[in-house]
Each structure stands twice: as structure tokens, then as C-alpha cells.
């Protein structure tokens, strides 16, 4: 474990990316910040710029239009960071599996862009806030094992 990934696991700043989701997962992501779940207990907070982000919370099945935008966000983010695919659509395209306009899932697009970026899948339609926090925790723990 090195100090860089330790720092990220202590203060994960979240950046919210919507790639064509129905807004359900987005609301659950914002739920994590509410008094009941309060992700700030573990240092998480929502930031407005991908330059500040440590975790990209990606929701939605990755429509054809949003793919180039998402790749630009991946390019703009300061490394090291992890990608969290929130919701069934982001994990496996869900009910949009054979849709012509969806090029997901998020893991495939991210790995096509850069193989070194770690992707955490958080399934659920929408995932409960507890599940999102657990997924974040798992991702940050896994990040500690990797040499950055």
C-alpha cells in the first residue's frame, strides 16, 4: 500500500457523470450525501470538476452520443482515479442490452480507453445507497493493492 492510494481511500471526491440514465441512480447517488447515509463521514464529497475527482460515479447505459463526452472526462480527470459504474444499466446495459443506440457497458468503454483504470460495478435498479457506499469501499480497498 502506498501513500497515494491511502490518501484517495481517506478522501474520495466524487464526480457525477450521467451517460443516459433515467435519473433513478442519480438520485440514489445524491442520497449518499443526505443525513441518513452521510458519505462525508468517510471524507467523500461531491465536486464540480473532473480535475478534482477521485471517483467517477457513472450512471446509465452509455448512449452513442455520450461516449465521446465520457472519454473526454476520462482524459480530463487527474490520475489516479477509479470509475464506479452505478446501477444495472452501467454494469451490463440492463434492459437496453440489444439497443442500437447504447455502446456500453461502462467497463468496456473505460477499458477500451485505458486498461489501467479500475472499474467497480455496483448493480441494482437503482442500487440502494448502502450498496453504493459498500461498492465505493470495495473499490477503494482494491485500489490499495494496486501499485500506482
Amino acid at each position: 500500500m502506498n501513500w497515494k492510494s491511502w490518501g484517495i481511500s481517506k478522501s474520495p471526491w466524487l464526480y457525477h457523470v450521467n451517460t443516459g440514465s433515467c435519473n433513478n441512480c442519480d438520485i440514489e447517488v445524491v442520497d449518499c450525501l443526505t443525513p441518513k447515509f452521510d458519505v462525508e463521514r468517510i471524507g467523500g464529497k461531491l465536486v464540480g470538476s473532473p480535475r478534482h475527482a477521485d471517483v467517477l460515479m457513472v450512471t446509465g447505459p452509455m448512449t452513442r452520443k455520450s461516449k465521446p463526452r465520457f472519454e473526454r472526462i476520462l482524459e480530463a480527470s487527474a490520475r489516479p482515479f477509479i470509475v464506479a459504474a452505478v446501477g444495472t444499466c452501467a454494469c451490463s446495459k440492463g434492459i437496453f442490452h440489444d439497443a442500437y443506440n447504447c455502446v456500453g457497458p461502462v467497463r468496456k468503454v473505460t477499458e477500451d480507453f485505458d486498461e489501467d483504470i479500475m472499474v467497480v460495478n455496483i448493480p441494482g435498479c437503482p442500487p440502494r445507497p448502502e450498496a453504493i457506499i459498500e461498492g465505493l469501499d470495495a473499490g477503494l480497498k482494491a485500489l490499495k493493492e494496486v501499485e500506482i
Partner: protein
């Protein structure tokens, strides 16, 4: 002598003290905000974790930025605040031969705001230059009442421009001092970039404003500048208006005054909506500045007529 100087700059009241006290102040801001919103809030060392993490991240320099100013400007804020912290703390202990000059201090306190403006302007992003624009308007707005209020305090204390002259008896214990304190408190709120005067950093509209392109260590320097400002600016109010602090029990009493001022600022932050730039300008020029001017007039009258409570 040189050893003492090094101690002053790097341990107390210099870098180490300012940073550690700033971390606690920054934690206090987030914790009290969380308690107001019925949340638990972050652990004590959270601001330190944030800064440690930022220093471990990649440093992106945008292609369209003005590179040398983009890289140099983040150092301005911590440098200015470090010097003002040393001047403030030294001036509160009469034993030292140091003469704290309030004019120098006022100049140094403009540096962090100016650094944010320059950093935003040189990062080549439309949103960040918009944020810089708003920050500049805010500086123009709050400098006038702040200077008027400080002038009122100078006249009231009658100790000239030396900071040590303010600490003999609290300025706020008179009518002009109380008015001046209220005006200065609002200016400090704007200087810290807190709600209701956070239009430069409006996170929901322009996404962090001037700092939008900064990442990694440079962003960490801006965060350090902000947490130092959380220590220095309320300390400035405590020294000029509330009688400062001294050794022994006086230090504890001074710390209590500082925490009270800080918590007041946090509560204003948490119970108000954001003002637009024009509303902030109106608020400061038509609201706070006349109040500070009134304080100045009362202080002059009180000084000439020899009325202590005016």
C-alpha cells in the same frame, strides 16, 4: 537570533502552527455545518487527508493556460497568510520588539483573493475566468467597508497604526467599535468566500469557479491557503476589535474569542442563500459601508469630545 527567526517562521507562529490550527479550523467549519444539517460530519483530520491526497495526484497543466502564472500564483496565498499570521501573533505579545503595522497586514490579506483571481484568469477556461471576474467584483465590494471599519477601530483605540495598540482594551466595548465589528465580520465572511458571498465559487453554476482547472498539488496549495485564511482572518478580527490575547489564561480566553467568531461565521454561512454579484455589491456599498462610516464618525466624535463609550 537566527535560530529564533527560523523558529518564528517554521514552528510558532509560522508554518507548523498555522497549518495545524488551520486544519482544526477547517474541520470545525465542516463539522458544525454537518451538525446544522443533522449529519455526523467528517473526522478530525479530514482536511489534512484531503491535502495529503491532493499532493499525491497528477498535476494537469491545461494547454491554453498561461503556464508560468498558472504554476506560480498558488504560492501567493499561503505566503501572504503565513506572514500575516506571524505579524498578528507576534503583535499580541508585548514582550517582543516587533512592531506590527496594520497597513502591511491589510495589504497581505488581499493576496489570497488576488491569487484566486490571477489563477482563474491564467487557466484558460471560460468558467474560471467568469469566477475570477466575480471574485474581483467581490473584492471591490468588501474592501471599502473593511477599510472604513478598521479606520474606525484605529481612531477608537487611539494607538496609532501599531497592532499592539489595539489589545490594551477591547475596541468592541463602545458603540462605534460594535458597529465597526459587525461591518468587518461581514467583510471577513466575503473574504473567506463563504455563503452568502460565494458567487465566485458557485458550485452549482460554474463548478468551483477559478479553481476548476486546478488539480493535484496546485489545488492543494489553494486548499492550504483557504485553511490558513480560516485561522488568520478571524484572528485579525479578534486582535483589532475584541482585545486580542496574551499569555497564560489570556491565551485561552483569546482562543475562546476566536472560536466564537469562527462559529458565528459558520452559522451565517449555513443559514443564508447566495447573493448575486450585484446584490453583494449593493449589500456592501449601501449596507455595510454606511454602517462602517457611521462607526468612523462616532469614533471621531467620541475621540474629540472625550466620550469613552462612543
Amino acid at each position: 537570533m537566527v535560530g529564533g527567526l527560523v523558529f518564528d517562521f517554521f514552528v510558532f507562529p509560522g508554518l507548523l502552527f498555522t497549518l495545524s490550527a488551520g486544519v482544526i479550523a477547517s474541520w470545525l467549519v465542516r463539522k458544525v455545518s454537518a451538525l446544522v444539517q443533522w449529519r455526523v460530519g467528517p473526522p478530525l483530520l479530514q482536511p489534512a487527508y484531503d491535502i495529503a491526497k491532493l499532493f499525491g495526484k497528477e498535476n494537469i497543466i491545461p494547454e491554453e493556460s498561461l503556464e508560468w502564472s498558472y504554476l506560480l500564483v498558488p504560492l501567493m496565498g499561503p505566503a501572504g497568510l503565513l506572514l500575516s499570521s506571524i505579524i498578528l501573533v507576534k503583535a499580541n505579545y508585548p514582550g517582543t520588539s516587533f512592531v506590527g503595522d496594520i497597513i502591511v497586514l491589510l495589504y497581505l490579506l488581499v493576496l489570497p483573493g488576488l491569487a484566486v483571481v490571477l489563477g482563474g484568469m491564467s487557466s484558460g477556461n471560460p468558467l474560471s475566468s467568469l469566477g475570477s471576474n466575480r471574485e474581483l467584483k467581490l473584492i471591490i465590494a468588501y474592501e471599502l467597508p473593511l477599510l472604513l471599519a478598521v479606520t474606525a477601530a484605529i481612531v477608537n483605540a487611539g494607538g496609532g497604526l501599531r497592532l499592539a495598540g489595539f489589545t490594551s482594551e477591547p475596541v468592541v466595548a463602545s458603540i462605534s467599535g460594535a458597529f465597526g465589528f459587525i461591518a468587518a465580520l461581514l467583510c471577513i465572511q466575503a473574504e473567506l468566500g463563504f455563503i452568502p458571498f460565494d458567487s465566485p465559487e458557485a458550485e452549482t453554476e460554474i463548478m468551483g469557479g477559478p479553481l476548476i482547472e486546478y488539480s493535484g498539488p496546485l489545488l492543494g496549495l489553494f486548499k492550504i491557503s483557504h485553511l490558513m485564511a480560516l485561522l488568520v482572518l478571524p484572528l485579525f478580527l479578534v486582535t483589532v476589535f475584541l482585545g486580542g490575547f496574551s499569555t497564560g489564561w489570556g491565551a485561552l480566553w483569546g482562543a475562546l474569542k476566536y472560536v466564537l467568531v469562527l462559529v458565528g461565521i459558520i452559522l451565517i454561512k449555513n443559514t443564508n442563500p447566495r447573493l448575486r454579484s450585484d446584490q453583494a455589491l449593493k449589500f456592501f456599498w449601501y449596507g455595510a459601508a454606511p454602517l462602517a462610516l457611521l462607526a468612523l464618525v462616532l469614533a471621531v466624535v467620541g475621540n474629540l469630545a472625550g466620550i469613552g463609550w462612543l
